[in-house]
Amino acid sequence: MRVDISRRRFLQGSVALVVLGGTSLSGINLFADAKRAVKGPFNKKVPTLCEMCVNKCAAIAHVRDGIVRKLEPNPYFPKSRNMLCARGVAGIHALYDPDRLKYPLIRVGERGDGKYRKATWDEAYAYIKEKMVKILDEEKDNRSCIGYCAGEGLGEHTYKTFMADKFGSSNFLNHSTICLQTAVSGFALTIGAYGQADLENAKYVIMAGANRAEAILTPDTMDLFKRTRGRGVKLIVVDPRYTNTAMHADSHIAIKPGTDLAFVLALTYVVIKGQLYNKTYVENNFHDFDKYKQHIIDGNYTPEWAEKITGIPSPTICKVAHDFMVAAPQAIYYQGRRTTWAKNDFQLRRAMALFSALGGGIDVKGGIVFGKKIALGEHATNAPLYANAQQRVDKDAAAVVGATGSWVAWRNLVAEGKTAYPVRGMFVYKQNPMLSVPDSAKTRKMFEKMDLVVVIDTMPSDTAMLADVILPECTYLEREDPVQSFAGVEPAIALRQKVIEPMYETKPVIDIMRGLSETLAKPLWEITKKYDEDVQSEMETRGEEEVYTEDGFDLTEPFKHSQEEINKEMVVSKHGEAAWALLREKGVYYPEMQASFKKINNNNYEWYAKNKKAYTVLDLEEEVDREAFATEFCESCESCVDPADVAAWKRTFSTPNKKIECFLGSMAAKGVDPMPTWRDADYVRVPAGKFKFITGRHAQFTQTATVNNVMLLELMRENYAWINDQEAQKLEIKFGDLVEITSSVGTIRIKAFPTPKIIAETIFYIHGFGSTSEGMTFAHRNGASDNEIIEGNIEPVFGSAIMHDTLVTVKKV
């Protein structure tokens, strides 16, 4: 049968199909044959970047009849290693989720009851403007009275450009302090950067707490699991649970939650006492090593001492320490992410970095490497200065509160009304603090105090249900995002391109910021003129128009250009037109890509030749060394060089003393231990009848963002509480029994999973489930949310949320 349709009718049909696609994807196969031949905007393959988690893997979207049919891996991107995980492939169901936010909504009921009316974008902007003008007028142009938060993503910066640089609020929060702040800073302050574990070449890896089989990270996951089990890398997994990562380990060591620091200190004790460390490397590259050595010996951190705390037999600790140093420098104590398990987490990360460094495994092939980053042009913004904008409210909550604040401390201050000035409004972009910040009841209390809550999201999350105005963002497949350069051993630039036009009335965040800035610029300028004495005096000499435009008060200025135009400028200014064309065509660009990108077979690709990989990139201390070093690393003689010798060269690290820092004097001044120290008083013991609650990630779900995805829900409908099988037996809890778990801040109900795969006195369930938003048809009340019961406590250095120190009771319902 031949079906002829006019271009116009085809177009109409496709639009109808797109809308239909929102509700039943698999049923659409109407005139498929007729259109398979049609080329053009409705039939294409678009390279883009995934946003189902934080990794940003390269994907190719297959579009037929204007509908995204399939997401395939894009082999050009070295970081994602030619793969898409379950979530990446299921991205189509984020796009065609029937529960998506489709148009702006304005609240008509009480906050939290979920009653909204459909609004136009202009109505939504006008509503926000009216509230903002009132608040800022009453708060005398203190821009920080509006807080804002954002989840991780390529659009985060665009949002920040508006909220921080242009609007001028200092109260920003992102995922850092509920994620990896302590690890990133612990490593950065010790070895100069967080670095990348070179799992393609490491010979010995201690993975403690990290779970790369279930918390997928590129390229770590891909590199590691092709080399385990006698294929090059020995993997030691230290975890209270027997995870899918532990399954691949040569040795799984069960550890009591919160005792990792004792384990690392004991390892350090063994290698220092036994003089097993790389002495030349330490001599050349450590600062204050003698202090650390003395500290460890004086602390008497023996394996026998650690055994009592961690539950790990002392011979095991000795063996791990010895084996690690035998494999060093190609030995890594893996950094991990989503850390902050206990109060001492910053010290733990420091101790881990120092332990890896003792073997010489920092900035060396097979160790922790720093990689290179390909330059991109800049998109500059003229940021105005507001005389009345106050400093962040949580600035004294911890020793070092950075620009991303301390989520829990900030929330506590606002909820308890203990801020230096009123925080009356909150903008939330792509984050779901109701489920992602410990102690949900308190987060709710915080939102209930606000005069204005604006949520920008793709889904009606639990947080969106507390908003006054909900602005619908389009999904990642419907927008171009800021181009990004990915640092690493094999660096590349990659681009998220729009695959199809935004559905419904949704918009990309840059368009939303443009709309907000156009609505707010002039009314807010009037308030600044009224209260800002600096602006008033400037205006006297230079006139209003000049101050408004030249001093950055015109909020619309960074959003004049489209994202495509900005990206083009950023790439072309550094790499030329050809690079831009290649990036758009392939989705990826790096210098000499066309020459060095090779397909080896259907499973394997080569992105960089061996000798072009950026294993060692830091400056060496002496010019002579650098040359010798380069020769050492030439491919031809690679096999004849002892890596320990390579590691021994003097380097320059990005730390204050240009060396690996054992002693942090600046931290000592802030009341933080200058060297990793175990403090018994900080350790939360488990009293009889109680359990310690721990949480974690899952390979089929990303935090709370994918819980409504029908494809992923097939793989796991809800989360289960892991409990040690012997303890469960005593409590007469069987698989699937409903149990009630109670902490000092909340109670949840969840089904039980008694298993030998978790140590005693510990309860675990996966983060992200337990949504109570009625807008989430498929996710509604599946399992339980961890943050309902995790207490809102912070560690003292960065104010990061402590995730694994909550004591709970469990009873069968």
Partner: protein
Amino acid sequence: MNYAMALDYQNCINCKACEVACKEENGVQLGAEKQRIWVGMVEGTIFGKPFANIYPSQCNHCLDAPCVSVCPTKASHYVLGGIVKVNAKQCILCKGCLEACPYDARFIDDTKVAVDKCTFCDHRFAETGTTACQATCPTKVRTFGDLDEENSDLVVLLKTRRFFFQKESIGTLPKLFYLLPEDEAYAKQSVAHSTNIYTWKDIKPLYDQARNKRSKEWRR
């Protein structure tokens, strides 16, 4: 042409990317029980310590497929390369093939009102060289290819490794080649004592013979 697949199952991290890719690629009916491919898991304890083995799996496209022999309407049939498929229009849902399949690789697709199963993605491998499950896999467990082509990724791989089959003793000559782990301890943990281990030399004549016997049934 004799299509088959090797599985380096020790790479598998049970992320289920393959299951999802299969469903998206082939429009498989939603529902946890509706799977063309799956990741099987065996877990327990040894001397009180937990262990787990993962075996990704799917239809074995057996050279002597009982599901084809048992089908009363010839809905179950071979296509070129020995791929076992189901013609939904001819299927009368007698479920004989569901019983006959040793691997439980078939299920009923309620939208097609027919039995459904893995097709080795025969609609796409001419263009891409891979099945959807292989292409998407983070740790590259699978290698699809042609046993009759000396230079295929598959044969190149099978020549360098030893392998075994699941439920080989039933005698259906399955074509999922499970690659024996080089690590002896892990091999012992994940392969039964009684399992036969083969090399390419052992298996090639056997499989050629079987192909010759039944390939007359293979049709376009």
